[in-house]
Amino acid sequence: MPYRTLCSLCVVGLSLFVLAPAHTLSAAEGPTLIAGGPLAFGPDNVLFIADNGAAKIVALELGAEGAGATPGTLDVPGIDRKIAALLGTDPSEIQINDLAVNPVSHNAFLSVSRGRGANATPVLLRVDGAGTIDVVSLSGVTYTELALPNAPASNPSARRNPRSSSVTDMSFVDDQLFIAGLSSEEFSSKLRAVEYPFASINSGTSVEIWHAAHGRFETHSPVYTFVPYEIGGEQNRIAGYLCTPLVKFPVSALQPGAKVMGTTIAELGSGNRPIDMVVYEKDGADYLLMSNTSHGVMKIPTSDFDTQPGLSEPVGGGDTAGVTFETIPQLTGIEQLDLLDDERIVVIARSDAGQANLELRALP
């Protein structure tokens, strides 16, 4: 029988990782960003933005910048062209790196790069309930920074400042910011956790995860997106890996020095990169909604997350296995996704003609 699935179980290795001390700043000129990446909202109007150019996380206390003139978010057709027009460039020079909805104002925030070359500039944008796009002014915003640790280096002279990793996703829960990243040198993942406010702690936890294939093979794989989710009364992280195992592991086990066994609860297909995940409740049941580069948007009931045994056997006749899911045919071309409220999501959807649209969609 041909082996068609990617993985069975995950093993989570764990070690203490010392993060550089945080800096609390309230400079009139605001923070300096080199390359704005993933976004995540924390408590009290705090927006975390990963700067993959400077290997740091910046926590922005948005204050008045957290809300535009109108609460909520409204559809913006052709948002890539409109952003390009506002920023004075061509849509080909605009890259939307992430989307996050402010849980207070319900405005959508976009982490955007203007330009792709030496003059590339990170821009933070806000879309409000009237569809107005504003550049979020970072001057005068109070912020704190957390430097991400250098890649491990046994030889301090070889590369004094190795920066080979970039943040792929962040999530804030229970006073902790979880940070997932990948490396251009190691085909693997790093998951870090750090308490916020940053100033109160300067160490975190580093997690390295890999997965096995059909009980015989195990290797590394980068994690691209993850969400916190409680399973059987226990806080877990549900992580989406490249090509595309879905993995759970309990947060309580993530202690420095511990070795944690993660469990692959689904295999969702090859040739695919997960983009975003959100958890929502509908008609009394919880679902995971997961967008992908190749396999559309999947709606995955979480009811079996507790009981699904770790995949360990080869899967024939297809390249998916584990917990059941359905692909939502109405959600195509989804490049970014976040929850707006209990009933709707905000997405960046790319049309067949190549146009990026910011749209509100009902949760399936």
Partner: protein, 460 residues
């Protein structure tokens, strides 16, 4: 249509009017830059290319004398930074020649940004030429200069070579009663900063592995460029050809935007692990990207843009042959050390029985004293990454040392110290793998950051 050149201050103007008359007959000659500004700016670097036209009703009698009005794109005269570095000053759009009474009214009124945008509106011209009429204007600030010019400074600097449409609507000037007076013509101009001459200079300097033979399950390639590259998915510029020149189908991990180093000088290409790993669907369907016994050529398209937007100076090719798959973990006990003499600055040379991953061997191998202190030095790799060499920053002090290597060090196929890229061991439950398949004494965990192996040696 008319063309004019004002070469003495480096400014070029091209003008056009949809009316049958030369627009200069109505608006007057293009004003020269003031000499003081020209003196402090290298105007030649910010040559103006403008196309000015009227859109309708050019024969109507204006209520405001617009005969001397001109729209130009120029460096800002007052915005030099504290150090006086004029090179950092963004270009602005200037409207000159407005009647002084109108300028005074503008100063006294203090328009809102929305009113300013209606009076002096700047929009970007999209590369696809689509005429989006509902696109918003470029964000920026408007001001009235001491020299009576109106100025628009964009929030982000204008792109070189990109055209911007400027529209001045005199009906929006303060004090002008549009209802009582006949509507005036709207003045429109196209402006652009010149695109720098394209002189491609960036090249692919080298590719690792530097040898010409790789295993069938080669995991990745590193492309090193001579100058920073743009942030694009490099896979669009790479092709892998077999010995007959046929392109290999989908050889690489198809997500290539994330694998730049911070400086955009190095790009990592992963062969698709789904084709490398035995038993995976892609491996079953397509086999490995590389086949033992075959010869391949990696072709780098010179259209790959560098950070300045220029193509590469030349195409680049690397030819290599493929040997059998390497599925064995690295065994550091096979490494051989050539130990230098105490008091010298001779190199410590470590030889490996097979090539190692270039980035990881440079980063994750070092030397420590028996007290655990890192020994600084200059690291080189050689002999197609089968050799690691360190020249100490200071002469070797006789004593006990250790070569220290993180277990994340890999060979070309991603096999780490003590851990093969594909692990075949089973744990006691039969469904999870946590044990290493490596040599005895290897760390129990899998490549975590704290894991190292040590090879002691003495300097005498």
């Amino acid at each position: 249509m008319a063309h004019a050149s004002n070469a003495d201050n480096g400014m070029q103007v091209t003008s056009a009017c949809k009316d049958t008359r030369d627009w200069r007959q109505r608006t007057g000659a293009v004003p020269r830059f003031r000499p003081a500004r020209a003196a402090i700016r290298d105007v030649a670097t910010l040559v103006l290319v403008g196309v000015v036209s009227f859109i309708a009703g050019c024969a109507k009698a204006p209520m405001v004398d617009m005969s001397g009005v001109a729209i130009t794109l120029a460096p800002g005269p007052e915005d030099a930074d504290a150090a006086g570095d004029v090179d950092t000053v963004a270009a602005s759009i200037y409207v000159t020649g407005l009647p002084s009474t109108q300028v005074a009214a503008l100063r006294a009124t203090g328009l809102t940004e929305a009113q300013w945008a209606n009076l002096l509106r700047v929009t970007v011209v999209m590369e696809d030429g689509a005429g989006d009429t509902d696109l918003p204007p470029v964000l920026g600030s408007h001001a009235v200069g001491e020299d009576d010019s109106l100025r628009f400074t964009p929030l982000f600097p204008f792109d070189a070579g990109r055209s911007y449409a400027v529209r001045l609507d005199p009906n929006r000037l303060p004090g002008h009663d549009a209802a009582a007076a006949e509507a005036m013509d709207t003045l429109e101009a196209m402006v652009a900063l010149p695109r720098p001459d394209i002189q491609p200079t960036t090249v692919v300097e080298r590719i690792y592995p530097s040898g010409d033979r790789v295993p069938e399950n080669q995991l990745k390639l590193y492309l090193h460029f001579s100058a920073p590259m743009s942030h694009v998915d490099g896979l669009a510029y790479l092709r892998l050809l077999d010995r007959r020149g046929r392109e290999v189908e989908a050889p690489f991990l198809p997500f290539g935007l994330d694998f730049w180093d911070r400086d955009h000088l190095r790009y990592t290409v992963f062969f698709d692990p789904g084709r490398i790993k035995q038993g995976l669907e892609l491996n079953e369907l397509l086999g490995r990207s590389l086949q033992a016994g075959e010869t391949y050529t990696l072709v780098v398209d010179p259209a790959w843009p560098d950070a300045a937007g220029n193509p590469l100076q030349a195409p680049f090719e690397k030819r290599f042959s493929v040997g059998p798959a390497d599925t064995s973990p690295l065994d550091h006990t096979t490494w051989r050390l050539r130990v230098p003499a105490g008091g010298s600055t001779q190199r410590l040379v470590v030889s490996f029985p097979e090539p190692l991953d270039h980035a990881l061997m440079r980063r994750a191998i070092g030397v420590e004293t028996d007290a655990g202190e890192s020994v600084p030095g200059e690291v080189e790799t050689g002999n197609w990454e089968t050799r690691w060499m360190m020249t100490p920053a200071r002469p070797w002090v006789p004593g006990a040392y250790a070569l220290v290597a993180s277990t994340i060090v890999e060979d070309l196929a991603g096999n780490q110290i003590g851990t093969p890229f594909e692990i075949s061991a089973l744990d006691p439950t039969g469904n999870a793998v946590s044990a290493r398949a490596g040599p005895a004494g290897a760390p129990a965990s899998h490549g975590t950051l704290d894991d190292t192996v040590r090879i002691p040696f003495d300097i005498r």
